[in-house]
């Protein structure tokens, strides 16, 4: 049916004289984005090389890089992001594997719950963890109730570990979603063949499933890495005085100290870090997406 269509379409086209080429239609939204997003970002870059005293230069960078607070924030950001990504990958892979390959009552409901989970605000998790592991909370309450001690042993929420736990909880669904999609495309005959040849479940996972979904795993992992580098709500809500990440430092410098140039410098460092990783993520997802498209085209 499609092959018949182009002829009349071609005949209809010259009847209308177009004054403006079609690609100009894309300009209004792109201009809007440029005005409210790219232009402000460029101003941040400009402000970071324009110290308050006047003139231009990298004096502000030298000053910020010299501060112990900045170096600590950079270290905290990278460590927390790495830990959260590793945790989310492990947990996400294990959970997605079970949902996809081991029949479970209510498995579909769980899949839908994961989708809803993605649209919840991140600070909700920290709030919940405060009630579970906080000074007055479930875990410590159970402990003091059982042992009669005055305080419970759980006191890690205001450390890096508390932030990592909250981020693992919040970001695991972001790993699970691409993995579940990849699992659903996996040819189950391969698993059956491997099993009939005598391979046990761990070996099948390692040698058949894992290589097949590695791109999805990498894509999910780098997305989580970027998001955890940029996470603000979770760190803010833990109220950890000792834990500062780059976004929290930007907030502190701009809003609490009023040091705009310093805030812009930290922001530029944060953007550079995130964009580099995001580029990596896009490259990985592009590689994942292509075979999928080919598969669909062949079907």
């Amino acid at each position: 049916m499609v092959s018949v269509l182009p002829a009349p379409a071609r005949m209809a086209a010259p009847a209308r004289t177009r004054r403006i080429p079609a690609w100009t239609l894309v300009l209004p939204p792109v201009t809007a984005l440029g005005l409210v997003f790219l232009y402000p970002l460029a101003l941040v870059l400009w402000q970071s090389v324009s110290p308050d005293g006047g003139g231009h230069g990298f004096a502000a960078y030298a000053e910020v890089f010299g501060q112990a607070a900045f170096r600590n924030a950079l270290l905290d950001t990278v460590l927390i992001a790495a830990g959260a990504t590793a945790g989310a990958l492990l947990l996400g892979f294990a959970l997605a594997l079970v949902i996809a390959f081991v029949p479970l009552p209510g498995g579909r409901a769980i899949g839908r719950f994961v989708d809803v989970f993605l649209s919840f605000p991140s600070f909700l998790i920290t709030l919940a963890l405060l009630f579970v592991y906080g000074n007055a909370g479930l875990a410590n309450g159970v402990w003091t109730g059982m042992t009669g001690a005055a305080t419970g042993p759980f006191d890690f929420l205001h450390t890096r570990w508390g932030v990592v736990l909250a981020e693992v909880t919040y970001f695991t669904p972001f790993v699970m979603r691409p993995l579940l999609a990849a699992f659903s495309q996996l040819d189950t005959a391969q698993l059956d063949v491997a099993a009939s040849l005598g391979a046990r479940a761990p070996r099948i996972v390692r040698q058949v499933v894992l290589p097949e979904v590695l791109p999805a795993l990498a894509a999910g992992g780098s997305l989580v890495l970027v998001m955890s580098l940029n996470e603000f709500g979770i760190v803010l809500f833990t109220g950890a005085k000792g834990v500062t990440t780059l976004p929290v430092l930007v907030y502190g410098k701009a809003i609490l100290e009023g040091d705009w140039t310093g805030a812009c410098v930290v922001a530029v460092v944060n953007i550079a870090l995130s964009l580099a990783l995001y580029g990596l993520y896009r490259t990985l997802t592009a590689r994942t997406a292509r075979p999928e498209g080919e598969r669909r085209a062949r079907a």
Binding site: F131, T188, L246
Partner: protein, 263 residues
């Protein structure tokens, strides 16, 4: 199927539930339980009360909820319009790739930095938006546009071109093809995108913390203010109100979507 023996399957399911329930279901149960209590010093919270909800649905808290809903509605509408327009106008693989990369950029940039950038750019005339509700709406719109664009662009990829070709071959003008064929076909994904944008905007905290003026205080900021001064239980009630409102809107939107996909 990966695990064949029945006992092994039970073991795997047990481990799964032992991981899944505490990590994902417990947070919500805990917040709901806390919102109904006045203290938590044992295994279960104590001092059952509805007071937190009574304060959460009136006065300042109600204003904050209205502010959040209005912000989310405006930001989603802006984001949907811009994202859909960009996705529809970018024809051809190269244009699609460039526009796609451009519109997805706000996801890669930290939300706090988006807030800072708006402050830097719009704090002095001629663009004096700092201190107005507009700057909050703008920030939310920028942050969620990526999701609107992504969702619509993906749906466009799957759209069968035969429909619009048929309409055009029957003499329909490009505008008519857009309004009568392409947009109706995109309706399911448009409403999905609208729901996602609304939910994300309702929960947005990072950029909002940088920008919010005293007279335009969205609910997440209010939740943070409550927990920051130690009022955890009222804060939990506010969070439950926030999530419930979001879920109700998502539910309504998904009903629209099912109706649309049956057409």
């Amino acid at each position: 199927m990966l695990v064949h023996s029945r006992r092994a399957r039970w073991a795997v399911q047990g481990v799964f539930l032992a991981l899944f329930l505490p990590v994902f279901a417990l947070p919500f149960l805990v917040v709901v339980a806390a919102s109904l209590a006045t203290q938590w010093s044992g295994a279960l919270p104590s001092g059952a009360t509805l007071d937190h909800y009574r304060t959460a649905v009136r006065g300042e808290a109600l204003d904050a909820l209205t502010t959040s809903v209005l912000t989310a509605l405006a930001a989603s509408a802006l984001a949907l319009a811009t994202g859909t327009w960009a996705a529809l106008a970018a024809r051809g693989p190269r244009a699609r790739r460039v526009v796609g990369a451009l519109f997805v950029l706000p996801v890669a940039v930290p939300s706090v930095v988006v807030g800072l950038a708006l402050l830097v750019a719009f704090s002095e005339p001629p663009f004096l938006l700092n201190g107005t509700p507009t700057i909050v709406v703008l920030a939310h719109a920028i942050l969620v546009t990526a999701f609107a664009h992504q969702s619509v662009a993906a749906a466009l990829d799957r759209l069968d071109p035969a429909y619009e070709q048929a309409a055009a071959s029957l003499g329909a003008s490009p505008l008519r093809v857009l309004l009568r064929v392409r947009l109706p076909l995109l309706l399911p994904s448009l409403s999905a995108a609208a729901g996602l944008c609304f939910a994300l905007s309702m929960g947005e905290l990072s950029a909002t913390m940088m920008l919010y003026p005293p007279d335009w205080l969205p609910l997440p900021v209010k939740v943070f203010a409550a927990t920051d001064r130690g009022a955890l239980f009222p804060g939990a009630a506010l969070a439950v109100v926030l999530v419930t409102t979001t879920l109700l809107v998502l539910l309504a939107v998904s009903r629209v979507r099912t109706r649309a996909s049956y057409r």
